[in-house]
């Protein structure tokens, strides 16, 4: 149990996907203008991560990994090169399902997330978490913890940043830095802050 908790905390703080691994940056910069939208997107990312990472883990373990098809009588087959296509397919399908479910049960959130919900398909934080999960050979329960931790970490990062950006509206920023430029520099400082966790063992 402590091992799983350690994975969650590491994924949230030490290996924060947004601010340490720099994944999912396009959405991060583009959807952080208002804090409410950021919170909604954060929740959506947690949900998507919590489902896609374990599902991809099962698919990889029982279908794609070298020798994984031994149960089907094909012990020498290595389909791991198909991992990328499979993962992106799973993510695209799940995001589509999530959109339908939200539309049916929480239409307000679905309207607020708008175009950014389907764009989660091309959010590299989501595909990245699945690829890193394969690289680190996590088993099923570990992948659940990893999915939860990475999702929470990304949500934490975008909500913090959106709060900072709302304050930036009232600052007197040089013309050329207005908007995107300042967003980068502020993210840099946030990342600098999180790098304080580097090397921390839980």
């Amino acid at each position: 149990m402590t091992h799983l908790l350690e994975i969650v905390l590491r994924a949230m703080l030490v290996e924060n996907l947004a601010l340490v691994f720099l994944l999912g940056m396009c959405t991060y910069i583009a959807v952080s203008k208002r804090i409410e939208t950021a919170i909604g997107l954060g929740i959506a990312v947690v949900v998507v991560q919590l489902i896609t990472v374990p599902v991809n883990n099962l698919l990889y373990q029982y279908l794609l990994a070298p020798g994984a098809l031994a149960w089907a009588g094909l012990p020498t087959l290595d389909l791991s090169f198909l991992a990328l296509v499979t993962f992106i397919g799973v993510i695209a399908a799940l995001v589509q399902v999530l959109e339908l479910v939200l539309e049916r049960y929480v239409p307000a959130l679905q309207v607020r997330l708008g175009i950014y919900l389907p764009l989660l398909t091309v959010n590299c934080a989501i595909l990245g978490a699945s690829l890193l999960m394969v690289q680190r050979r996590y088993d099923f329960t570990e992948s659940l913890a990893w999915g939860l931790g990475t999702g929470l970490g990304w949500a934490l990062a975008i909500v913090l940043f959106a709060a900072l950006r709302e304050r930036l509206h009232y600052s007197d920023i040089p013309d050329g830095l207005q908007g995107l430029g300042m967003a980068f520099i502020v993210t840099g400082f946030l990342a600098l802050g999180l790098s304080g966790f580097t090397g921390v063992e839980f």
Binding site: I88, V122, L127, G176, L177, F184
Partner: protein, 221 residues
């Protein structure tokens, strides 16, 4: 043939740069920019994938059904990336290990899908090819300049060739450790955007609120 500033090959370099203006492809531009060699390999991979996907999508533009086009486009892009990934693993295993998941992440690099969606779907094959290569070059321009700065200031070298002898080897240069960590990429891109927008002032964004000056406040009261 003289290329004008609005040609699809030239426009994405500065005037419509994918990284500094369209906010596309930021993840890999930030994450693989700590030294030049992986950055160069990454740039070449992205240009190849972009050119391939733009041409394929443009060729299929009359037969792609609108409702399932996203999944089909993703499949085209993913196939190209799988090929690149296997080629890199076979011929440059060292660089492939440094790039780790980032080659795979070209699939979700928003430049590729973004250009397929906004350009290749509506334009001829030739223009799409030019647009793909142009956007790839615009991305590479940012990636390589950030990587050059970070490698030079972070380890005193370019492409692994020492230019500034570091203190550890008896030289005079004290490497800037921050340049090797991820936050520096944000600062460099932020400052780069400042530079570009001071040069091309039409790219400046308008502030959401403007500062009211003291005398305005007096008159309004």
């Amino acid at each position: 043939m003289r290329l004008s500033r609005t040609h699809p090959l030239i426009r994405p370099l500065v005037d419509d740069n994918p990284v500094t203006l369209q906010i596309l492809g930021l993840c890999s531009a930030l994450a693989v920019s700590s030294s030049l060699r992986p950055a160069l390999i990454m740039s070449i991979s992205v240009i190849v994938v972009l050119a391939f996907s733009n041409v394929s999508v443009s060729l299929l533009r009359y037969v792609l059904p609108r409702s399932v086009r996203l999944i089909l486009e993703m499949t085209i892009i993913a196939s190209a990336v799988v090929v690149i990934d296997e080629v890199l693993k076979a011929f440059v295993p060292g660089v492939s290990a440094i790039l780790s998941v980032f080659v795979g992440l070209i699939v979700t690099n928003c430049i590729v899908l973004g250009r397929a969606e906004t350009f290749a779907r509506y334009n001829t094959v030739g223009a799409s090819l030019a647009d793909g290569i142009g956007n790839g070059l615009g991305y590479s321009l940012i990636l390589l300049s950030v990587a050059a700065l970070r490698e030079l200031l972070g380890s005193g070298a370019l492409f692994g060739v020492t230019l500034l002898p570091v203190l550890a080897d008896g030289g005079w240069y004290r490497p800037n450790a921050m340049m090797q960590s991820s936050p520096s990429a944000f600062f460099i891109i932020g400052l780069l955007i400042w530079g570009v927008r001071s040069w091309r002032t039409e790219q400046v964004e308008q502030p959401a609120f403007s500062v009211r000056h003291a005398e305005q406040r007096e008159t309004s009261q």
